[in-house]
């Protein structure tokens, strides 16, 4: 990519040159037309004048032809000797001619204007036929004279152009440079910035053309800064959320090591195991969160049955359910659709919902997963008989790491955040509502665009 300055310079120079050139061509053309018109008028005038002179019989043409010694033809050096005149008898003998005329007839053409080449010289000729005297009068004008006239005018235009265009080029080069100074200034200000400085560009007055760019840059800075802040707070939260269970694990391990009695040791070990499971889930959720946020929805996915995805997730979580004598009841319904949307996002959302439901449900209870068509969407509902979400927490349960004051301590506060993020990616929504008869009902509303008719 060539520099903006060189680019502007070339554009301006070529445009100016082209304009100049076309002006010259135009002037040359119009000058030629004018010269032709004026000189042709003179030719015909001269022709008719000679014809009328000899018609008077005051000039004896035959006599004149003897008296006037023909001068050898010479190239007209300047604008003198412009016209040549020949008078021919209609039978083809030369009656008379002017000094600058060639030996041969100026034209073989009929009366009126014609063009011919005689002895390598191009002539513009006007001939008049005088029937009474039986002669033909030919007045010729060398084309070279006409060309010279036009060329002189053109040269008069080209010479100043040749002098002025380099001057103009210099002025354009300097002018473009001056015009681009605000851009240079902005580039310098940006180049001098440390990577951490995402503050808006200084509010100094800038030209209108640059304003959209500064605005766009400031917008970008704002977005990058927000993304960075988001990242930072996520990392801080993640660090906290991981370090706390680690601290718990370490403490329990140390208690097991120093326990004075078997009961204390065994309790500590049992808690240790539970803690490892919980931390494992937390790490998996953190990875899920990162994956869900990075997952693009645009790709085409091979279609899978949504009921199949539900069954797979339920299978995965079966050990968790069995541990507490719970079971997952699947009610996929008829006409189960084929999912063409991102399967990972749907199964990550489902997994977290069912896991939450199992955790919230009392021992021995069932968690129901059902599927139904609703308007232009498929709704996958996960229902439990747990305590439900406290009214005060409803607005914030999908915030990352938010754990309601009333929830049991086992959650990471990431599960519903993952579900919400996954739904946002897929264009669906998460609905949370108290279940009739106690418990919570979480619904994934999946848009029809994520499906293909079965």
């Amino acid at each position: 990519m060539i520099s903006m300055r060189a680019r502007l310079f070339l554009i301006l120079l070529v445009a100016t040159g082209a304009l100049w050139l076309s002006a010259i061509l135009w002037i040359q053309h119009s000058t030629r037309a004018e010269v032709e018109r004026v000189l042709d008028a003179r030719l015909s005038e001269a022709g008719r004048m000679v014809s009328s002179l000899i018609s008077d019989h005051r000039v004896d043409v035959a006599q004149a032809a003897v008296m006037v010694q023909p001068e050898p033809f010479t190239e007209p050096a300047d604008y003198v000797h412009q016209l040549s005149c020949q008078i021919w008898a209609l039978d083809g003998t030369l009656v008379g001619q002017s000094g600058s005329a060639p030996e041969q007839p100026l034209t073989q053409g009929d009366a009126g204007f014609s063009q011919s080449i005689v002895d390598g010289v191009e002539w513009r000729v006007y001939s008049v036929v005088n029937e009474d005297l039986g002669v033909r009068v030919m007045i010729g004008d060398s084309m070279r004279v006409r060309d010279r006239l036009v060329n002189d005018v053109t040269a008069g235009l080209l010479l100043p152009a040749a002098l002025i265009i380099p001057l103009l080029a210099g002025l354009i080069w300097i002018g473009v440079g001056r015009g681009l100074v605000p851009l240079d200034r902005m580039a310098q200000a940006l180049a001098a910035r440390p990577a951490t400085d995402l503050s808006p560009l200084p509010d100094a007055p800038v030209p209108r053309e640059i304003r959209p760019m500064t605005a766009a840059l400031n917008g970008l800075f704002r977005r990058v800064s927000a993304a960075r802040e988001h990242e930072r707070s996520f990392t801080a939260f993640a660090a906290h959320e991981l370090k706390t269970p680690l601290a718990g694990l370490k403490t329990q391990a140390q208690i097991a090591a120093m326990a004075p009695d078997e009961a204390t040791r065994r309790t500590a070990l049992a808690r240790l195991e539970r803690g490892v499971n919980r931390t494992d889930r937390m790490v998996r959720q953190l990875l899920d969160m990162a994956t869900v946020e990075a997952e693009a929805e645009s790709r085409e996915h091979p279609p899978v049955s949504l009921a199949g995805v539900i069954a797979e997730v339920a299978d995965d979580l079966a050990p968790l359910a069995q541990g507490r004598a719970q079971h997952i009841v699947q009610d996929a319904g008829a006409g189960c659709p084929l999912l063409t949307g991102n399967r990972f996002l749907v199964s990550a959302a489902l997994r977290n919902l069912i896991e939450n439901a199992l955790q919230a449900s009392p021992d021995g209870q069932e968690v129901r997963v059902s599927l139904r068509h609703e308007g232009a969407a498929w709704v996958c509902a996960v229902q439990d008989r747990g305590p439900g979400i406290a009214a005060a927490d409803r607005a914030r349960v999908t915030d990352r790491f938010y754990r309601g004051a009333g929830t049991q301590a086992d959650g990471s506060g990431l599960g519903l955040a993952i579900v919400a993020a996954a739904m946002e990616r897929i264009g669906g929504t998460l609905r949370l509502a108290p279940r009739e008869g106690g418990g919570e009902m979480a619904e994934l509303v999946l848009p029809d665009t994520a499906f293909r008719a079965a």
Binding site: E241, L242, P245, K250, T251, Q254, T267
Partner: protein, 220 residues
């Protein structure tokens, strides 16, 4: 020494309670700012282990309210945010010490003993009275060249008496030192432990002030 533990993570809260009890402390544990405020209002604690990120607010607010009431209770902050600026904020907010997660239980116990004895105006880790020196970190005593071992509760009573020699401690005060909220107070444990202590230290080491309580003999 009775500690209030404020930590929302159940496993860690339990670990702290059990672990610090093994280290000779009496512990009570709560999970939220509101519960912590209520517990501190009711009093009876010698120190507090405070987590910073709690479900209903920041531990720093609990600390702020505590200091605003003029309390000098020794407080150790326990948090995953342990970068230098976080430590500075915590200490300047009135904390006595700061420990990042994860931590070592023995180190936590040692730091707690350190801030607690500073609170009592002692610098050494040993308490001495009438020839008995008490090693708080090892829960052991030494008298006339003899090593003495105590049960956790015996040690707690002995330590309470030695912290303020001469002060008479009633049975309720000693029971408060012995039991957290979860534990049921048995009717005559204090008497049993004092009896056991006298057997180890000599009958005249602890004096009974009839109808009031106990104190160390020979106190002014």
């Amino acid at each position: 020494m009775r500690l209030l533990i404020v930590e929302d993570d159940e496993m860690l809260r339990d670990g702290l309670s059990v672990g610090l009890r093994l280290a000779g402390f009496t512990t009570d544990a709560v999970a939220t700012c509101a519960d912590a405020d209520a517990a501190l209002e009711s009093g009876g604690f010698d120190g507090m282990v405070l987590d910073l990120m709690l479900p209903d607010g920041s531990g720093l607010d609990v600390l702020g309210r505590l200091r605003a009431r003029g309390s000098r209770l020794p407080v150790l902050l326990l948090t995953a945010r342990d970068r230098s600026p976080d430590r500075v904020t915590g200490l300047d907010a009135g904390a006595d010490d700061y420990l990042g997660k994860p931590f070592d239980l023995p180190e936590l116990a040692a730091r707690l003993r350190a801030i607690l004895r500073r609170g009592e105006g002692r610098a050494a880790g040993l308490m001495e009275w009438n020839g008995l020196s008490l090693d708080l970190s090892r829960m052991e005593g030494r008298i006339a060249g003899r090593e003495l071992r105590f049960s956790r509760r015996e040690f707690t009573i002995l330590q309470a008496l030695m912290e303020r020699p001469g002060t008479i401690l009633g049975k309720p005060a000693l029971e408060e030192r012995l039991y957290g909220w979860q534990e049921d107070v048995e009717s005559n444990t204090v008497e049993v432990h004092v009896h056991n202590l006298r057997a180890k230290l000599g009958a005249s080491f602890i004096e009974t002030v009839r109808g009031v309580g106990y104190r160390l003999a020979g106190a002014p």
